[in-house]
Symmetry: C2
Subunit: 301 residues, 2 copies
């Protein structure tokens, strides 16, 4: 089968073996925003035509491709949701010569009743369930999926029971690009871990995030924060505030799996450990594993 | 005498009587960023030439005009600082036919030793001291000066003893203009007070600011936040978080004077009252009063 994680700005496809291993993969910038005039079928042919020509007949997709702005809208499933629920609610997509289905997104509410939605992360979480079992599923209070909009999902009995989104990545970009804070920052090629840790530590102090942000500038003007360290400090400040708020609702010493790309999960793991919980990084292709798992539920491998 | 509050984006001048009343005033968009090639003297002649021609010989300025990017740099005075300290540290500015002096800015550190600076607010605070006395100076734990960078100043014995800056106004503009949150908002002519209060109440709930921000979008998508109310809700969320963090260090039932323009002080007063303190709005020309007070200390009126 072919598994596809089709997001807002990225297209990632995996050709999977019957055992769920990745036989081949490809990635491009053809996210749903880059598909003109609803030509999703044409885009799919262009992206994975060779694999279809080689005999693949089953395509399972997740992510924003199932949103109102995507190919076909797949209604949200309400929490609690596990792999069986997702497999039972796949949405068929008309396509010329292969069977194409969409994994639905998941809806929920936070502790105060404010609405929450995810698309794509539910599939990554399904793909990480086996890793959760290895870590001791009973000790996992929440899993963290960093990104532009970071998700913290509560897991129980192999299902997502609720989740909360933090706008950390997007706020970082807006503050760096469109406030006075960016003026004292230089681009660095790599994260300055000491500056990141300083930002995380600052997040634990009094005064609140909106005050701490001004300190990025004040410390730079006072010569205590080098221009090439400024972005790392700001990143630590924001991730530190996010992690502290997210851990506040969890038992002490909880295990928090962090699912995503190695560089970002490494930063979140530092902040989570600083906050007193235990971070376990899951850096493999969780989306591919989740698509394979759900495909297995409907006999596609 | 003539008092001038010359900031980054605004120029405001007051012709003051010997009793400190405002005889005439003018305002323009000629902030220091709009002065080309350091031509501050020319700009001043153009702005207040008629008053000088009418016989005024003393000009006292405060604000960013005394910064490194301004006309002449006036070194910061370290806290504690009161009107006598400011008057003793005025910086002379060469000018052809009038005596021109600058009020220095003030530096400090927050409770955790992070650097803080202000320029202009020290003069507004000096101008509000008489109002503080009327309110009962002993019951005033801190004064709030809303703006792009909002200042919360601790006052004791008629002097500024420390202060903290919150980047609330600038963060609001960056989030509204440069994140996904702006997409579900329409311009409104006035603040929607019910939506503002909802944002303030949300700030008191669990989850942290970075999570609450995503809720602006989620609530809009769920049809529970109208496009024309979105900006007011976001404003309440940010001001609510700022006020909660700032009040956390103050005694319960404290009086908080709020100094500034009527619309903004009204919003801050709502959030401060919601946070359990007592807000007292001071909407007059605090900068003009402060310039007059300091001018009086050196015999200019």
């Amino acid at each position: 089968m072919i598994g596809i994680d089709w997001g807002t700005t990225r297209f990632r496809a995996f050709r999977l073996t019957a055992e769920g291993a990745i036989r081949d993969h490809k990635a491009s910038g053809r996210g749903i925003l880059a598909v003109p005039d609803g030509r999703f079928a044409d885009s799919l042919r262009e992206e994975i035509g060779p694999w279809l020509a080689a005999g693949e007949r089953h395509v399972l997709m997740c992510g924003m491709v199932g949103s109102r702005q995507g190919w076909v809208e797949a209604p949200y499933l309400a929490c609690p949701v596990g792999p069986d629920d997702l497999a039972a609610a796949l949405v068929e997509v008309p396509f010329d010569w292969a069977e194409v289905k969409l994994v639905p997104g998941v809806s929920g509410a936070d502790a105060d009743g404010v609405a929450e939605v995810m698309r794509g992360e539910e599939t990554q979480l399904a793909g990480a369930l086996a890793a959760f079992d290895r870590l001791g599923a009973g000790r996992i209070a929440a899993a963290c999926l960093p990104g532009t909009h970071c998700k913290w999902a509560r897991i129980a009995g192999g299902r997502i029971t609720g989740f909360a989104t933090h706008m950390t990545g997007e706020v970082f970009a807006a503050l760096r690009g469109h406030t006075i804070l960016g003026r004292t920052m230089q681009d660095g090629t790599a994260t300055d871990h000491a500056a990141f840790d300083r930002g995380v530590a600052r997040a634990a102090q009094a005064g609140g995030l909106l005050h701490h942000l001004f300190g990025v500038r004040a410390e730079a003007l006072a010569g205590r924060l080098a221009p090439e360290a400024g972005a790392s400090y700001l990143s630590g400040l924001l991730i530190g505030h996010e992690v502290r708020a997210a851990l506040a609702g969890l038992p002490a010493g909880a295990i928090v799996p962090v699912i995503g790309a190695p560089d970002l999960t490494a930063l979140y793991a530092r902040a989570i450990e600083a906050g007193g919980a235990m971070a376990e990084r899951i850096n493999g292709e969780a989306a591919a594993r989740g698509l394979s798992l759900i495909g297995g539920r409907i006999g596609w491998r």
